[in-house]
């Protein structure tokens, strides 16, 4: 419906190579933009620094997840084997010193909980699944997963300005600059 009022998402500009994208990212970072991102088909080495991104905090989540897993395994093994129903099998005792026999399960549950934390922690950090996104409205953005290199600066950014931002993108080597709008 053409009568629907559209909301501006931001500018999308294409760059010709990973090197050009890297150089452009450094300039946008130095201009002090905050709501923007570089899009590419594969992770580009060093782009985090060029964009001024901090190291991912995912390892801390996973560390906590792993500790939870180990604690779960210890509680499970100790409670069931020593507290609730001590069974003497093959003359192995049922007390705290049975701990070495619990090591494989301590290890496995540590790994299992860590792995699940990686998955769900990652999804939380990158805010996915999100099947719809204004960028998918763009007529050229589908090339990002093939061979396109793009930078999108969002209208939410306090520095965003319709004319100046477009000029900046053109000046740092962006082509096919497109104003992306969402319904």
């Amino acid at each position: 419906m053409s009568t629907t009022r559209k909301r501006v998402y931001g500018y999308l500009a294409e760059f010709e190579s990973a090197t050009a994208l890297y150089a452009a990212a450094e300039k946008i970072r130095d201009h002090g933009f905050t709501c923007w991102d570089c899009y590419s088909a594969y992770p580009i080495h060093g782009l985090d620094t060029a964009m001024g991104l901090k190291r991912s905090i995912l390892p801390w989540f996973v560390f906590c997840g792993g500790l939870t897993g180990m604690a779960t395994a210890f509680t499970l093994a100790y409670t069931t084997q020593v507290v609730i129903y001590p069974t003497v099998v093959q003359a192995k005792p049922a007390n705290l010193f049975t701990l070495p026999a619990f090591f494989p399960i301590l290890f496995e549950l540590t790994v299992l909980f860590s792995g699940l934390t990686v998955l769900f922690g990652l999804l939380a950090l990158i805010r996915l699944p999100r099947l719809n996104h204004p960028l998918f409205e763009s007529h050229q953005f589908h090339r990002v997963t093939d061979d396109g290199f793009f930078i999108a600066i969002e209208a939410m950014d306090p520095q965003f300005n319709r004319e100046q931002t477009r000029d900046l993108l053109a000046q740092i080597g962006g082509s096919s600059i497109e104003l992306v709008e969402e319904d």
């Binding site: 990973a18 080495h45 991912s56 399960i105 790994v111 792995g115 999100r130 999108a152």
Partner: protein, 492 residues
């Protein structure tokens, strides 16, 4: 420049450093778009006739062998597996250990080779991870059903039974349940996370319709922004580290099932490293068995180069030699300890009624991979394929020798029986082979069999800091690559 005689060396005009280039992982300077089109083309175009010729028989074998076999087993009872003596239990265990071992190469390629920055892994990691998942599925069938009354298989889970008795956490069999289920879960997460960017690639190439919706849902809205890649790469690194310890632990735990028993021939400390090396060895052979035909059928020679095959052949040679060392060391330790029961167990394996299984194991696993010392053999795909097939057979027989060859002579002479698989036994195993291949065919049909994003990442121009090609200070010497022998690249 003035003329000089032969004996006086020319003064150096400028110092040129010789630089040996790395082998190219993608040949013929293929572009990003070519890689996308070639890999996605496999699942977007019609499958070749050969695909149907493999898929339909495999599916039938899987339905009859696994589906029919299990229905008959559950409705009749495990007696149809001929479980009338202790040796007969060996068959499901042989197949379980065989399949679980196959999976290890996938995890090694995706995890250990990732941590050691072996970029050649990128072309083969997706298919090997898929192979891991399917192999673990095949493996899981055997222990789940060999419990006899399968509706009590929940006894394996850490839940109390009706009398309030819990599982024995000191038992290697319960460790195995945890190890295998963790292995499957982590492998699945690893595989799926790796797939997400490639599923997004397929989503973006689809025309609007059901296909786009389905791929779109599984691609969870991936956009390829660097704020996503940054966390994604960290997640991949973490999973690789977790999977690295898993690949070493799973088959170790499987080997504890044997090593912690008091049975001559099983009760040895060499079992964990020996099983892990054997698993990686057998797994790489299976990767080659399925990837060599796939590479040929789908024309992936520029992505899976002779260099990749050469590397895999070298790993097979290394792990095969470790396995050979373990076989010999087992014999030496049996002799050196002076334990008569231990010595007798090995004498029985070598000269007893299963001497032929031992001979097949030794020939296929120790002797056949030794041809890979020679470059000509590593570069001849027929030789590579034949050796890989030999290893597949040999690794199955290794488990047969270890399990059946030991159970047939345990402590009590009343247990001394010989083993013959029933028709049910055989059809279930053949059924899992069909299931494995059928699942792999479906994988080739519906999912990108090469990790598109990671292969693009290995291209030289993907690194924003790659050196300019015309650096005057160096002379580039191209690395040896078999494909370049016919048309050597121009030296610059």
């Amino acid at each position: 420049m003035p003329l000089t005689s032969e004996t006086v060396p020319k003064p150096p005009v400028s110092i040129k450093l010789p630089v040996l280039e790395r082998e190219k992982l993608v040949l013929h300077g293929r572009s990003y778009h070519w890689i996308t089109t070639r890999v996605c083309g496999i699942l977007e175009n019609k499958q070749p006739l050969l695909w149907w010729w493999i898929f339909i028989p495999c599916t039938l074998i899987a339905i009859i062998g696994v589906g029919g076999g299990l229905v008959r087993l559950v409705s009749t009872g495990v007696g149809i597996w001929g479980n009338s003596n202790r040796v007969m239990w060996g068959w499901p265990i042989v197949n379980f250990v065989f399949w679980i071992g196959i999976g290890h190469a996938g995890t090694l390629i995706s995890a250990i080779l990732f941590l050691t920055r072996q970029n050649w892994r990128t072309s083969i990691n997706r298919a090997s991870e898929a192979m891991t998942i399917f192999a673990v599925i095949c493996a899981g069938i055997f222990p789940a059903f060999h419990v006899g009354r399968v509706w009590f298989a929940w006894f394996l889970a850490p839940l109390p039974n009706a009398n309030g008795i819990w599982q024995n956490f000191k038992s290697p069999l319960l460790w195995d349940v945890f190890a295998v289920s963790t292995y499957f879960t982590i492998s699945l997460i690893f595989w799926y996370l790796g797939l997400v960017p490639d599923l997004a690639t397929i989503r973006d190439r689809c025309k609007p319709g059901l296909r786009k919706i389905v791929y779109g849902i599984f691609a969870i809205g991936w956009r390829g922004g660097n704020r996503q890649w940054s966390h994604y790469e960290m997640a991949y690194l973490l999973l690789a580290s977790l999977a690295t310890v898993l690949v070493l632990s799973v088959h170790s735990v499987v080997s504890f099932d044997f090593a912690s028993s008091v049975v001559p021939g099983w009760h040895t400390t060499i079992f964990p490293p020996y099983f892990v090396a054997g698993a990686i060895f057998g797994g790489f052979a299976m990767v080659l068995t399925i990837m060599l035909p796939a590479r040929f059928i789908y024309g992936l020679q520029d992505l899976i180069t002779m260099k990749h095959i050469d590397n895999m052949a070298r790993i097979i040679l290394l792990t095969g030699t470790i396995v050979g060392y373990a076989y010999l060391m087992e014999l030496f330790v049996a002799f050196y300890t002076g334990a008569i029961y231990e010595m007798d167990a090995f004498k029985f394996r070598i000269t007893g009624p299963y001497w032929w299984a031992y001979a097949v194991m030794m020939t296929c696993n120790v002797i056949s991979p030794q041809v890979f010392w020679f470059k000509a053999c590593r570069e001849n795909l027929w030789v590579v394929m034949i050796v890989a097939m030999c290893i597949n057979v040999g690794m199955w027989f290794e488990r047969f020798v270890i399990i059946v060859g030991t159970l047939a002579r345990t402590w009590l002479p009343g247990d001394w029986k010989c083993f013959a698989p029933t028709l049910q036994d055989q059809s279930l195993f053949v059924g899992t082979l069909g299931l494995f291949l059928a699942l792999f065919m479906l994988f080739l049909r519906f999912l990108p069999c090469i990790n598109i994003a990671e292969v693009k990442w290995t291209l030289k121009e993907s690194n924003p800091h790659h050196e300019p090609p015309d650096d005057p200070g160096v002379t580039r010497i191209p690395a040896y690559q078999k494909e370049n022998l016919k048309s050597p690249p121009p030296r610059s």
